[in-house]
Amino acid sequence: MARYLAGRAAGVVLILFLVCLFTFIIFFTLSPDPAVMICGKTCTPERIDQIRDVLGLDEPFLAQFSGFLAGIFAGRDYGAGANLVHCAAPCLGYSFQTNQSVWDMVVERLPVSATVAIGAAVLWLFLGIVAGLLSAVKEGTWWDRTAMGLALGGSSIPNYVLALALQYVLVVELQVLPFPQAVPFSDGPALWFQSYLMPWLVLATGYACLYARLTRANVIDTLAENFMRTARSKGLSPALTMRRHALRPALTPIATIFGMDFAALLGGALITETVFGLNGVGKMAADSIAKNDQPVIMAVTLLAAFFVVIGNVVVDLVYTRLDPRVRITAR
């Protein structure tokens, strides 16, 4: 087990390193000169040189890359002498746009993205699994057809369309909800709930539809298994047969997919956050890409990769608890 974990940890570090490297290469070779961008319209050649010098932009690729990596683990200094700025570890640099510490930006915005992700996950798990289960049990009935028709439609609607439609109906026409904004929980649970409700609904819809279809398919497959015939031949109650023998095999694969989906969402729900103007990691990513804010783009890329990679490891570990046939063996 310890050997397995060590192996997985090494894998995580390697993948994150490669993500860093490739993102860095892309910016180093493709993006316009950051110094010119930072300098803005009232710019002199002296000022550009100064910026290059402070950020180390005239150094070779390897020096810049190692400087970036060192900053994450040990912190780094920008400039020299009176202009010296120390960026404490974990240092992800400063935004070209706002001069804010990127790490501080991430710390500030991550809770918003996490709130969006967690609330949506609760909704879509509940709705998706209940609808899928009912459809499987009532396979072929009008309920099944209606639910699956809606699920197909629901998973086909783009999030931004759904977001704008909901916003128009609930905020503009009916005026039952305030305009969504990242209200902290400390401002009162009711206000907090109201302000996040629409993002949750929008984000959950697509996933709920997908999970309903997955759950239905898995349950129908499981009900046809030989061990279900055995369970029935044992004279167990229908409730026990369903709960114990059908649900666990049917829902275990859903847990895997959920782990991956949820991990990816922690890296920011780009469209939903942007449409609702929520200052989460997703909106930060969208803004930074629009403005070519390299340090921020590096940070959101790395953060998303981090969550996906960690999510993978967690899913694998949890799976060994869910399915007794899966055992960890160190390679």
Partner: protein, 261 residues
């Protein structure tokens, strides 16, 4: 003494898009206490459907006619609750593929115990009766941790934990190696002898039937083509199909035919 199981004019019909299809047609046979009746036939002959009809486990949509009486009580048309009470307690069934017939997510101990608990409450260890060494420890293991023969022993232990009066064995040895097959057959014969229960043994393998059954029912395309004592059926088959089945058994003294491409 009344018969344990009486099947009279059993018909099973499935609705299909091309109209109803009869998968079992006018099948009648009896099983006495302390007796094994073999049902033989090729795939699709209706032998499994007959056994599922007895257990009340036919797929949804199937309709039945006729009569199935267990200890004088009618099984066909019994309520779901009554059937549940009978299944596992008064009549049990074991299946062809023991790996897929056991739930991979639960220990075999739990799967045996839940049956006993459903009918009697409480729990009871039963694994020692079927010749598994170290049953207490093995009960905590999962189905995939056993060999094929061991899994079928577990299925048998499960089926017999409530001491049913009827055991239906649906091709219980088909998926097993020949040597293991013989062990399982001997185990079934021994357990049946000790408990005095009746057994319905379903197979496509006439050699297996001859070693275990006292009476034989031969089925083809849902119809009963022959029914009699094992000696009778094997010594003087009255139907061409039975003769054909018997002739299909390879014999060690057969002259070898040329293999034609």
């Amino acid at each position: 003494m009344s018969k344990l199981l009486v099947v009279e004019d059993l018909n099973v019909t499935f609705p299909t898009t091309r109209g109803p299809v009869d998968v079992v047609k006018d099948v009648s046979f009896t099983v006495g206490r302390d007796e094994t009746v073999g049902i033989v036939g090729e795939s699709g002959s209706g032998k499994s459907m007959t056994s599922l009809a007895i257990m009340g486990l036919l797929p949804e949509g199937a309709t039945t006619r006729g009569s199935i009486r267990l200890d004088g009580a009618e099984v066909l048309g019994a309520s779901a609750r009554e059937l549940r009470r009978l299944r596992g307690d008064r009549m049990s069934m074991i299946f062809q593929d023991p790996l897929s017939s056991l739930n991979p997510y639960y220990t075999v101990g739990l799967q045996i115990e839940e049956l006993y608990r459903a009918h009697r409450g409480g729990s009871r260890a039963a694994a020692r009766e079927v010749g598994l060494p170290d049953p207490e420890r093995r009960a905590r293991h999962y189905p995939h941790q056993f060999s094929g023969g061991q899994r079928q022993r577990i299925m048998i232990a499960m089926a017999l934990v409530c001491s049913p009066s009827l055991l239906i064995a649906d091709e219980p040895t088909t998926a097993l190696d020949v040597t293991v097959q013989a062990q399982i057959l001997r185990l079934l014969a021994d357990l049946r002898g000790q408990s005095g229960m009746g057994m319905v043994f379903i197979t496509h393998d006439l050699a297996v039937i001859s070693s275990i059954a006292t009476r034989v029912l031969v089925m083809r395309r849902g119809e009963q083509v022959e029914y009699g004592t094992a000696e009778q059926v094997f010594a003087e088959p009255r139907h061409d199909y039975t003769r054909m089945l018997l002739d299909s058994i390879p014999r060690i003294d057969d002259p070898l035919d040329e293999v034609s491409a």
